[in-house]
């Protein structure tokens, strides 16, 4: 049986089609769903698409940024107002994948993929999802924790507060292969500074747990302090707390635990 492709003008109709059909999958950039089809995943019998322009909109004019779920990484790289996200966007795939892969799809990408989501987690993003009665916003942490159950969910957009300065947001993907490689670990740090002190630090890690997680102990070590050597060391030492990295083809859990602090220290201190 061939796959049925259903394209809807509105996200509401698309969401309804998704929730009514267990074999339906939402088709964003194709990098996940098309791959699954190519590899013989017969659980997908319907592809749902939505042509709603809101899905591909970027609003980066104000202090709060909204990025439609269908926005590609190439679009983010072309957007000057989102330069703080360029490192994260550039770390996804090669140029072709960046022309195809979307912000919304990345939320569903399992390890070793999903690096952009690490950046979104550090930015405390809200994930806007289409419900039966319109859209609702879900904090990204909550979204990720319940991701297993979100397969039939249609994500509309993500939104977050723009970091105050270029230096306040940092991102690094540790990969074996350069320039395009799967993540050994991924780190993102949002370090808002108020009168010289860090207020509301958020550190997010990829490949350190079944989903992207926050390094809360490291955040606590930074909170209310200036970003000096001692603070950085304390945060680096705490990076491992609460993590449960697994073994995979790219590295072992042991190795990830060993290096997460090293890389957090280097990220916070601006070292290569």
């Amino acid at each position: 049986m061939a796959v049925t492709v259903r394209t809807f003008a509105s996200t509401g109709e698309a969401a309804a089609a998704l929730s009514s059909d267990r074999g339906a999958r939402y088709f964003g950039g194709g990098t996940l769903v098309m791959r699954a089809l190519n590899e013989g995943d017969i659980s997908i019998s319907t592809i749902v698409r939505a042509s709603d322009h809101a899905l591909t909109r970027i609003d980066a004019t104000g202090s709060r940024v909204t990025i439609g779920a269908g926005v590609t990484f190439a679009r983010i790289l072309a957007e000057c107002g989102l330069s703080f996200l360029h490192a994260a966007a550039r770390s996804i795939g090669g140029p072709a994948v960046r022309n195809m892969g979307t912000v919304g799809g990345n939320l569903f990408a399992a390890t070793p993929y999903g690096d952009f989501t690490v950046a979104l987690l550090a930015l405390d993003a809200m994930v806007s999802v289409q419900g039966g009665l319109g859209s609702r916003d879900v904090p990204i942490e909550e979204f990720l924790q319940t991701r297993e159950r979100q397969t039939g969910t249609l994500v509309l957009a993500v939104s977050f507060q723009k970091p105050a300065s270029a230096d306040a947001f940092r991102y690094r993907k540790i990969a074996r292969i350069k320039p395009k490689g799967g993540a050994v670990i991924t780190l993102a740090a949002h370090l808002p500074v108020s009168s010289g002190r860090i207020v509301g630090a958020r550190i997010a890690l990829g490949s350190m747990a079944p989903t992207q997680i926050r390094a809360r102990a490291a955040e606590r070590a930074l909170e209310g302090r200036t970003l000096d050597g001692a603070t950085i060391s304390a945060a680096a030492a705490a990076a491992i707390e609460g993590t449960s990295p697994a073994d995979n083809a790219l590295a072992s859990g042991w190795y990830r635990r060993e290096i997460v602090g090293v890389h957090l220290r280097r990220l916070l201190s601006g070292q290569e």
Partner: protein, 524 residues
């Protein structure tokens, strides 16, 4: 950057040539840059069907029941192929050169020996329909304990991976579970050495990862023949293998290939051709069987892992006086080509050095993993890694520069090699000298003046007295039959007790047994 050092060995060459030595453009370059080079998959045939296989989900299991009834009724399915449909469902690749016993089915019948082993092939109108039918095949497995480590596999009581070789090791010369190399008295050499260093090395399996995956398209041709477009690295090898498995004369096939998207050794095993041809025979339609990337990576054969133990004796002045090596090739569940690599590996010992006492035992071991095959540097890459790491450690141990240490021990023209042939046309020393020069690595004048053409032979040309092994050979039947082939899995006789070992062949007076004695099943 490539520099031709025409100054070295100039007296041995006639460089007065017209076409040879020129950097002429490749004949195939225009095709490559225009995308018009034709690979096997670039043939578009009318009404082509698609073949996919059902693969074992267990590393080692008995197949209690294979139920394809639902799959046969699935939409778009043209034919289900099972082991009983394969005319000769047991083969070993090197049977074409009479080396080894048939040990591998095209489709497993009563037992699977590695995760991913093909059990059923499905020929359908589209890949999607083939995948849907795969999901409808029911296989009842009785899991067996698996063995995955080469040394564990050789222990008494280890699960038997492949009944053709009940000791989990390929049998050499009908009598030994390893290939031997004996040259001089290694124990005496080790005893006399100033230092002895014993180390263990392990090479991982490696995937060939050609950008084009393994595959073939077979189609009925005129005159009852079949045309086969294939990615094979060895056209007639694949053709003859198919003729054997499908039990038809070789001129039944017209194989076309020759332009292949990378091979590196991974396209010798003829994995897709027998089934795509059989699919074409059974449906009368063109059939395409191409590996997906995950299949290529996990179930296409890798370069097998090797474990190597080296024990060296070295003198304070840097001369290596003894090298003893034990190496295990992880062949996976079937022989394929690993048995041959072990012989090549034994021949390679002790590396490009002249060492008066050399001892090697090289094993080809069966484990419950994807069968291994040839890869670039087959039989040698891992051994070179082990030997050259060992050389570095020995140089460090005696406090010598590693370049000079290699020049000191390098083989030279006229030296006797451990496989008892004279070294000729050597050039290791010159390579070391030039590499040192290029890397601005200082070596002493003496070593700069050394030459592969000097100081070899003489006493270094002698074959040293070599003690014979005292232990008894491994007893094994020369013609072990197995219970699979086309027989149904239902009733199983207990395997007969192995017949007594055959008498050891008498070595001819010249010291070398006929090569045929290597083979268990040489054709008469």
């Amino acid at each position: 950057m490539l520099e031709l050092r025409k100054d070295i060995f100039a007296d041995e060459r006639d460089d007065n040539l017209k076409e040879i030595g020129k950097g002429t453009q490749r004949q195939d370059m225009l095709g490559h840059v225009t995308g018009t080079s034709t690979y096997f998959d670039d043939h578009k045939l009318q009404g082509m069907l698609h073949l996919k296989v059902v693969r074992s989900t267990h590393a080692h299991a008995r197949l209690r029941r294979i139920d394809t009834s639902e799959a046969e009724r699935a939409a778009g399915v043209r034919r289900i192929i099972r082991g009983s449909d394969v005319p000769r469902n047991l083969n070993t690749l090197l049977s074409l050169i009479n080396f080894g016993k048939d040990d591998e089915p095209s489709l497993a019948v009563d037992k699977v020996r590695y995760k991913g082993e093909p059990i059923v092939a499905i020929v359908a109108d589209s890949p999607r329909e083939a995948y849907e039918a795969i999901a409808k095949v029911r296989i009842d497995y009785e899991p067996l304990s698996a063995v995955l480590d080469v040394e564990d596999a050789l222990k008494p009581g280890a699960p038997v991976v492949n009944e053709t070789y009940p000791k989990n090791a390929f049998i050499y010369h009908d009598i030994y579970d390893h290939q031997k190399l004996r040259f001089g008295d290694v124990e005496r050499g080790l005893a006399a050495a100033d230092h002895v260093l014993e180390q263990r090395y392990q090479m991982s399996p490696i995937e060939h990862a050609p950008t084009e995956t393994n595959g073939s398209i077979a189609a009925p041709d005129t005159n009852g023949r079949y045309i086969v477009y294939t990615s094979t690295q060895a056209l007639f090898f694949s053709l003859d293998t198919c003729a054997k498995i499908l039990d038809v004369p070789s001129n039944t096939f017209h194989f076309i290939g020759g332009t292949v998207g990378g091979g590196f050794g991974g396209k010798v095993d003829t994995l897709t051709e027998p089934l795509s041809i059989l699919g074409a025979m059974l449906t009368g339609r063109p059939v395409r069987y191409v590996f997906g990337r995950e299949e290529e990576m996990q179930y296409g054969p890798p370069r097998g892992a090797e474990r190597i133990y080296i024990k060296d004796g070295v003198m304070r002045d840097g001369r290596i006086v003894a090298r003893k090596i034990r190496a295990y090739f992880d062949s996976g569940a079937y022989t394929r080509l690993s048995s041959y690599a072990a012989v090549k590996c034994a021949a390679h010992l002790p590396g490009p050095y002249t060492i008066p006492n050399v001892y090697g035992d090289v094993y080809c071991v069966f484990t419950n993993r994807t069968p291994a095959t040839a890869m670039r540097g087959f039989g040698v890459t891992a051994m070179d890694f082990a030997i050259e790491c060992q050389m570095d450690k020995l140089a460090h141990l005696v406090g010598m520069d590693p370049m000079e240490f290699r020049i000191l021990n390098a083989y030279r023209d006229g030296d006797m090699k451990a496989h008892r042939r004279e070294a000729k046309n050597c050039a290791l020393i010159e390579c070391v000298q030039v590499a040192a020069e290029k890397a601005k690595w200082p070596i002493r004048e003496d070593f700069k003046r050394a030459s592969s053409r000097k100081e070899g032979g003489g006493s270094r040309a002698a074959i040293p007295p070599t003690p014979r092994d005292s232990y008894a050979p491994v007893a094994t039947p020369s013609q072990q039959r197995t219970t699979y082939d086309r027989a149904p899995a239902a009733s199983r006789e207990p395997p007969p007790p192995p017949p007594p070992p055959p008498p050891r062949p008498q070595a001819p007076s010249h010291g070398a047994a006929r090569f045929s004695s290597v083979f268990g099943t040489r054709r008469r």
